[in-house]
């Protein structure tokens, strides 16, 4: 076992790992941060997306020891300091961008990464960026709408509801 230290959601934390411990396992089992979900074993679904040093990555496809010392942000670290929902989170609630909530942590983390890179994406850019995040519930309509709304763009033209 090797102790791995990282800065997760602004706090320095550590947990014991094996070589094979995934970042997703480190967060979920090591730190009890179960907001990061695991939905597949082929690195396709994106339920596990977190930010490592500011970049969206699939935490199920990284060994914890390979990112020792990194700055990690998870869904648990996306709210504002006063506990209120962050901009992307709030837009997801406002526009019904989630149903069962299982894909949601990954969707929010990917969407936040998109807006950091591209503050005013087009609809096509949002859809393209979310290629690695599968949602079975929403048909994506309200997710795309929420991301566009979070970017501050006018969404009045998007079909009803």
């Amino acid at each position: 076992m090797t102790k791995v230290t990282m800065v997760v959601n602004g706090k320095s934390v550590s947990a014991e790992t094996e070589g094979r411990t995934l970042l997703s396992g480190y967060l979920r089992e090591g730190l009890g941060l179960t907001g990061t979900h695991v939905g597949c074993d082929t690195s396709q679904c994106g339920a596990c997306v977190v930010h490592v040093n500011g970049k969206a990555v699939k935490s199920c496809t990284i060994f914890a020891q390979d990112v020792a010392g990194a700055e990690v942000r998870t869904i648990e670290g996306m709210a504002n300091a006063d506990g209120s929902l962050g901009v992307v989170q709030q837009a997801f609630q406002d526009h019904h961008g989630l149903q069962c909530g299982f894909c949601t942590p990954g969707m929010v983390m990917s969407s936040a990464a998109l807006l950091a890179e591209n503050p005013k994406p087009t609809e096509a850019e949002v859809r393209h960026y979310l290629e690695g995040n599968i949602c079975r519930c929403t048909g994506y309509h309200n997710i795309v709408k929420a991301v566009l709304a979070a970017s501050g763009q006018d969404i009045a033209a998007i079909p009803a509801e």
Binding site: R20, K58, I62, S110
Partner: protein
């Protein structure tokens, strides 16, 4: 997944030593290797992460054209190669999804040589040079059939040098599930001729479509391709397409790549 010892050298020399050991395997972005290990299809005793080696990262212009460190993630190539070799940058930007592009690397992709991967077509079409910790390998000698390369035990890619073409484009037709290339065609026009590399189609992995190269070297236009036929007899047959369908895609995508170049 079986357990292993994890090491993370910070120089090529250290990595060479670590990878000389029995049961040692290189780890780059892990975007291919981790899913394989989860299925218990790979069981390295030691995993040698190449992600801490600064000399294997980055994009810069040099004698051989555009030199890209093997440990450079796709997202960095997409950004930093854009000014020098836009077709290559666009290819990198079309691999997988953003999270995959933030981890997966040029070296890992080219070492793996998946028959549906994108990069091998760029390496082959560019006549690039694969630089390893031991030697330099010409692209035409490097790819040896699906998942097979010229790399030997303990050898790993440190960088790839891409001669910069006058014009080039990569057109990829997505496999609907994995979004790898169901078929992808990279066309590159150099002063001394055109090279066309096809991925996703053949049971032999990436290959050069020589007839198209000859035709396009004479006349770099989509029309030049119209009389050509593609021999699809040894093409991949799977859930997503027949050999004949892939043969059609090779033609259609080559024409589109020429038009886009």
């Amino acid at each position: 997944m079986y357990d292993f010892e994890f090491v993370k050298p910070s120089t090529i020399a250290e990595a060479t030593k670590a990878l000389a050991g029995d049961g040692a395997q290189a780890l780059s972005g892990g975007q291919t290797l981790l899913p394989t290990m989860k299925q218990r299809l790979a069981a390295p005793g030691t995993l040698v992460s190449l992600n801490g080696i600064a000399e294997m990262k980055g994009v810069c212009k040099g004698d051989g054209g555009l030199h890209i460190g093997a440990a450079t993630p796709h997202a960095v190539v997409a950004k930093e190669a854009a000014a020098h070799y836009p077709a290559l940058a666009a290819l990198a930007n079309g691999i997988g999804d953003p999270a995959v592009r933030n981890r997966g690397t040029l070296g890992g992709s080219v070492a793996n040589n998946d028959p549906a991967a994108c990069y091998p077509s760029a390496v082959l079409a560019s006549g690039a040079t694969v630089v390893t910790n031991k030697r330099k390998i010409a692209a035409d000698d490097y790819f040896q059939g699906m998942f097979t390369t010229a790399l030997e035990e303990g050898e790993f890619i440190t960088e790839i040098a891409f001669p910069i073409p006058q014009k080039a484009a990569y057109v990829k037709f997505n496999q609907p599930a994995s979004r790898f290339a169901l078929t992808g065609v990279f066309v590159a026009k150099y002063a001394d001729g055109v090279r066309v590399a096809v991925t996703g189609a053949s049971n032999d992995g990436v290959f050069r479509w020589k007839e198209a190269e000859a035709a396009l070297s004479k006349d770099f236009s989509a029309a030049a391709l119209s009389g050509l036929t593609v021999d699809s007899s040894d093409f991949i047959h799977d859930l997503h397409g027949t050999p004949a369908y892939r043969g059609n895609l090779v033609k259609v995508l080559t024409a589109r790549a020429v038009a886009a170049a």
